[in-house]
């Protein structure tokens, strides 16, 4: 993939993240911010499909943006074909793992695991 395409994705995920995180913060503020991390509220949030959808989108956007940012930082620290390939593969694997683990939590809670 061309670097300009990756950067377009990087910028798009940043802008979309700002919008979705703002939405997430607004929902939290209107729903009693102090009680946000109460167990029952957390479970209820995951079981409310539209809100769980927002959390899933934030997870995907921030994972893509964050791990690409990490890849860029690591590519600037050191150079070399093997190193660069290793960094790219490692960042993709970590990104997929974080998305998979987070999605598993969201889906499991949404389907009534608790």
């Amino acid at each position: 993939m061309r670097e300009s395409t990756i950067i377009r994705i990087h910028y798009a995920t940043a802008l979309a993240s700002v919008a979705f995180v703002a939405l997430h913060v607004m929902i939290r503020v209107t729903q009693g911010f102090a009680d946000s991390l109460e167990f029952e509220n957390v479970v209820a949030n995951y079981q409310f499909l539209p809100y769980a959808g927002i959390l899933e989108v934030i997870l995907v956007l921030l994972s893509i943006h964050g791990f690409n940012g990490l890849r860029v930082v690591l590519l600037e620290i050191r150079q070399g074909r093997m190193y660069e390939r290793g960094v790219t593969v490692a960042c993709i694997v970590m990104m997929v793992a974080v998305i998979a683990y987070g999605s598993r939590t969201i889906f499991a809670m949404n389907m009534g695991a608790f």
Binding site: E3, S4, I7, Y11, V72, L75, E76, Q79, E84
Partner: protein, 243 residues
């Protein structure tokens, strides 16, 4: 008869010395040089070389900020020695060191291989099938507005000061650098040129234009008033579709 007022003062010049090919440690040589209000750093270095130690290594040529040979760190900033008057600098001691982000050849002389390679890679010439001049046909006419888009970038003298000031150049050994990236914009913005796609492809890799973080230090140090940071941002916009 009253004497002509003189601005003559004595300036201490500290020159960083090293010779990586021969090994040995880096050191500083100090010289006291007589200077006038108009004395440039290059004049002072040459005085030190002529009357102090002839083994001081320095590269220079035109002495008028045209050839781009005498770039060096002067009191910690990348500048042209021939274009920097000692009277404009703060303090009594002037410290000169080789440019950062370049391999040292000896003393103040650095290797330009990477800069020239990077510059050559972006094809720094007009690419056009209509380049040949035909009799009776006016060649490649441009409006003043079309010229305005790139003319400041055509002032680059390849002195390397921008690359020396660039923080990305310091860590990324394969980064194209502000000099060559600004030159890509110079040709992309030129209406006579047809090599845009070729050039954009060259700089669209993992060590190309997207590694510029817009520190802007390249533009601050350019002795010719070129603004490489602006050229790079315009080029980024161009590549993202803002034309």
């Amino acid at each position: 008869m009253a004497g002509v007022p003189s601005s003559k003062t004595t300036t201490r010049l500290k020159i960083k010395r090293s010779n990586p090919a021969a090994g040995g440690a880096e050191s500083y040589s100090e010289f006291d040089v007589d200077t006038e209000a108009w004395t440039t750093v290059l004049d002072a270095i040459l005085a030190a070389k002529n009357y102090g130690d002839h083994s001081v290594g320095v590269r220079y040529s035109c002495r008028q900020a045209t050839c781009g040979s005498c770039g060096m760190m002067i009191n910690g900033k990348p500048r042209l020695a021939c274009f920097t008057k000692i009277s404009e600098l703060d303090g009594g001691t002037v410290t000169v060191e080789p440019m950062k982000n370049f391999p040292i050849v000896r003393d103040l002389v650095v290797g330009f291989d990477r800069l020239f390679r990077s510059h050559h890679r972006i094809k720094p010439y007009i690419i056009s099938d209509e380049a040949d001049i035909e009799e009776g046909v006016r060649e490649n006419r441009q409006t003043p507005e079309e010229l305005e888009k790139y003319i400041q970038f055509a002032g680059c003298i390849k002195c390397g000061l921008c690359n020396s000031a660039c923080p990305t150049m310091a860590t990324d050994s394969q980064f194209a650098g502000p000099q060559s990236l600004a030159q890509v914009y110079r040709y992309v913005a030129d209406t006579r040129d047809k090599g845009k796609d070729e050039r954009l492809k060259i700089i669209d890799d993992s060590h190309g234009i997207w590694r510029c973080h817009y520190a802007g230090s390249c533009s601050k140090v350019c002795p010719k008033g070129v603004d490489p940071a602006m050229g790079i941002q315009l080029l980024k916009g161009h590549m993202l579709g803002f034309r």
